[in-house]
């Protein structure tokens, strides 16, 4: 068991699945439904290896860095892989109810390909590999946005494509600068060699800007709401829950290991933008009249929280941000799925007319409400734990204004969540035509939301996981 390179399997299996779905489109659904649990099993295997034996390093084809490609898995990578696996499993089940057969045949290869790109990204140990996986991820995501095929979707997809390419291009320029300066692409090697100098500052700026654009940090978030709101529900879910987190992950890695941070200004800037995102996203979400746009703006706000860790920079703050990342991934996937159910049931997502729908889909509404609880950061939920850790870090360092942002963001989130949930309790009178929602679509949303809430009660294990391989420094591995 120990000898099996589970990390490599976690990339190859979805790739093979994607290929199979592409070659036999008639059997895409069963093929996909076999692959998805397989990927989860691979991640579980890797998780077992990492928790038992510490961080893992694989040299692909027997060639290690600096010549060959290396994969590296520590607690941070593992956490991202696990969240992806959990949400991915949910999306895989959900989409079987959502898509018709014809769309399924297109969706499955793209989705599995995207999953492979995500897993590869989280396991990459050098900055060029990260670029490649980021680009693959972006292309798959753009294709998925275009899946609906109408004019709106194509416009959104085109805009998304341009943003995605621009972001990767900036990142690639930074990679070139670093490679030129230090002759290596490996993160661990660069970490030892990089010293503050003008080219490094340029690289830092370029790579950060590209990644921030892809992560849709305020004020670079303009492309996110249309792209996330116009897509089919499973696609919205995977974009909001997973794809934006990938570029955040890269930024975090570079920030922790490579970028020379001997002054506090860049961190403060990121924190400021994060605070802007929390407030702006929250206000915009509150103003929306369409459910999916509201959820999309909520993503903008929630992404902002994660950047509040940068000015604080302590292990507690990073853990808080990652806890928010996990719970947001689960909660946001659940929210978009719930919105998908409501649209399927009533044919629209106008918030003001939701009362007729909400009362007859109690499971879906519960899913939305539970996901909302986590987004507001109310206990007991993963969102609460993340917020607690960030508050603790903020007050501990005396930077109370970040604490204020966290609190205001929570109040805004409560306002927009209850704007929707309140409709469950108005008295529905009008009866009109509805379309049945398969039970598995309702239950997937509910279980994911429940997972986001339970994350607030079962904290020790995920928190301990983040210490494996010391991704935040302070340990023997640096």
């Amino acid at each position: 068991m120990l000898d099996i390179p589970w990390g490599v399997m976690a990339i190859l299996l979805p790739l093979a699945g994607a290929l199979a779905c592409f070659l036999w489109p008639r059997h895409a659904v069963p093929l996909g439904l076999v692959t998805a649990p397989g990927i989860v099993a691979c991640v579980a295997g890797l998780g077992w290896q990492v928790t038992e034996h510490g961080a893992q390093r694989y040299a692909i084809g027997g060639w290690g860095a600096p010549l060959g490609i290396e994969l590296y898995a520590d607690g941070l990578s593992l956490l991202m892989l696990m969240v992806t696996a959990l949400v991915g499993l949910g999306i895989s089940v959900y989409c079987t109810g959502y898509f018709e057969r014809k769309t399924s045949a297109v969706f499955w290869p793209l989705w599995l390909f995207l999953w492979a790109a995500l897993n590869a990204l989280f396991l990459s140990a050098d900055i060029f590999n990260l670029y490649v996986t980021l680009e693959l991820l972006g292309l798959a995501a753009v294709a998925l946005v275009a899946l609906a095929g109408d004019a709106d979707a194509l416009t959104a997809a085109m805009r998304y494509l341009l943003v995605s390419l621009l972001g990767s291009l900036c990142y690639l320029l930074g990679v070139a600068l670093l490679y030129h300066g230090y002759g290596s692409l490996d993160i661990a090697i660069l970490a030892q060699r990089v010293e503050p100098s003008p080219p490094v500052w340029a690289a830092t700026g370029l790579m950060s800007a590209g990644l921030l654009l892809k992560t849709a940090l305020f004020p670079l978030h303009f492309w996110l709401p249309p792209a996330h709101a116009r897509s089919p529900a499973p696609v919205s879910a995977l974009l909001s829950a997973l794809v934006v987190k990938a570029s955040f992950y890269i930024l975090l890695r570079l920030w922790l290991d490579i970028f020379p941070l001997n002054n506090a200004a860049p961190g403060q800037l990121l924190g400021l933008l994060g605070a802007g995102a929390v407030l702006w996203g929250g206000v915009q979400a509150l103003r929306q009249t369409r459910l999916k746009l509201l959820i999309a703006y909520s993503t903008v706000a929630q992404l902002g929280y994660m950047f509040l860790a940068f000015p604080l920079g302590t292990t507690i703050a990073w853990k808080g941000a990652l806890y928010l990342l996990m719970s947001h991934a689960l909660a946001k996937a659940a929210m978009f799925m719930a919105a998908g159910n409501i649209m399927r049931f009533g044919g629209h997502d106008r918030i003001a007319d939701l009362d007729r729908v909400a009362q007859r889909l109690p499971l879906t509404l519960t899913a939305f409400a539970l996901a909302g609880v986590s987004s507001m950061g109310l206990p007991p939920s993963g969102g609460f734990i993340g917020k607690w850790l960030l508050l603790d870090a903020a007050l501990n360092s005396g930077q109370w204004w970040w604490a204020l942002t966290l609190v205001l963001g929570g109040l805004l989130a409560a306002a927009y969540v209850f704007k929707v949930v309140g409709y469950a309790f108005t008295q529905a009178k009008v009866v009109y035509e509805t379309r049945a929602v398969p039970a598995r679509m309702e239950w997937t949303a509910l279980l994911l939301a429940l997972a986001a809430v339970l994350l607030g009660l079962f904290t020790p294990w995920p928190l301990a996981l983040l210490d494996i391989g010391f991704p935040f420094g302070g340990g023997p591995a640096g």
């Binding site: 109310l378 607690w388 603790d392 609190v407 929570g410 209850f418 009660l457």
Partner: protein, 499 residues
Amino acid sequence: MTWDSSLLLLILATSLVPGMVIFFLPEDRVGIRTTLNMAGAVVKLLLVGVMIWGVYHGQQYETRFPLLPGGLDLVLHADGESVLFVTLSTVLWLVTTIYAIGYLEGSRHRSRFFGFFSLCVTATVGVALAGNLITFLMFYELLTLSTYPLIVHRGTEEAFQAGRIYLRYTIAGGALLLVGTVWFYNVAGSLEFTHRGVVAGLDDSDRTALTAIFVLLIAGLSVKAALVPLHGWLPRAMVAPAPVSALLHAVAVVKAGAFGIVRVVDDVYGVEFAASLGVTGPLAAVAAMTIIYGSLRALFQDNLKRRLAYSTVSQVSYIVLGIAIVGPIATIGGLVHLVHQGIMKITLFFCAGNLAETLGVHKVSDMNGVGKRMPWTMAAFTIAALGMIGVPPLAGFISKWYLGLGALDAGQDWVIYILAGSSLLNASYFLPILYAAWFRKPPDAWPAERSFGRRETAWMLLAPPLVTALLTVAAGLLAAAPFSPLQWARFITTKEYGP
């Protein structure tokens, strides 16, 4: 897990599990739903009985789960204060469940109602059993979330509006409490509830921060405890169905706030340290102001439930006042009022619900001669109202007696004037009701009368107020008996102030 450590979990589970099952029950499964509700309430009562016995004999009950590094655990813990509050909520939950089953007979969305009702009680019991501030906070917020659906249960525009205001107040209050809690943890390094507080050993440089934190914590808790000027949500929330109002005012929300204040003053800061910070004086002043203001507003309400709501604003502050006077006897008065106010106020709300359901009477001005039509209901109402005024030998008298005595003992004579003024005001808004109900001529027709045969109303609506009215008499008459609320409050206070 041993019996001792799982007892507290079982007490929580006896309302949580039935609640979860009830959510999934179809509307028409009345039998199963009632059985689940009643079984949960009765079993919880038995378990609480076991716990009281154990705590009285020095048994330690504690359940701990790790939550965050740095000693932040989820802790359930049974000490004197928790026993007092748990017992109150468990007994009143049982009677309110009976009442609610009768009250909501035949109405819609009952599974949803009883599901959230059970969750609400779970949260209240959690608040009572919480062994540190973070656990308290978790259940406190759960209480906010689980009461919202009960307040908006009727689904009318008015209910919706009340729900929105309720959320605005409580979520903002929760945010203050959260910030205060995290900050306190940062300064003191521990959130455990202990009898002398955890901050006494800190050096002087932290005193400013500790004062600011105290203000944050108390402000956050005052929202639910409805201290002026943060009381605005409470009178509006009375649009909820009567059993919800009863629970809100007597057991769950308002009490959780007051109980939180007791915890912060007694077990987080320690009463002596709080007094040395100079924060108890202002707290007592706010409580005194609330007592007078609430009574004054109650005087001018014609809607019966609104009058009762303002009366709650006033009466709950007795608890806070008792704690803030700083002295063993006043503390006894405050703690015992936690129970006494609960049983008296729940009786009043049950009776108000009976009048509304049976006769369609919502206003004080429609209550002329109602005592002749519904003598039993009005008898219960009368006992509770007299108790509120503080007529001996009813429960309210005991509270006021100890508060007054405690104030004199602590050298704070001004409290006597507050108590006297408040009693006068209580009498002026309750006695006219009693007079009209018993001595005025009934009208020719009631606004919306329903007939229940020979009985004045359904027995499920009548029995609960009679039981709680009897408890009001018993708590006063038998105050010296072992295990009475008064004796239990003494038991707690000797631990707080004793050697």
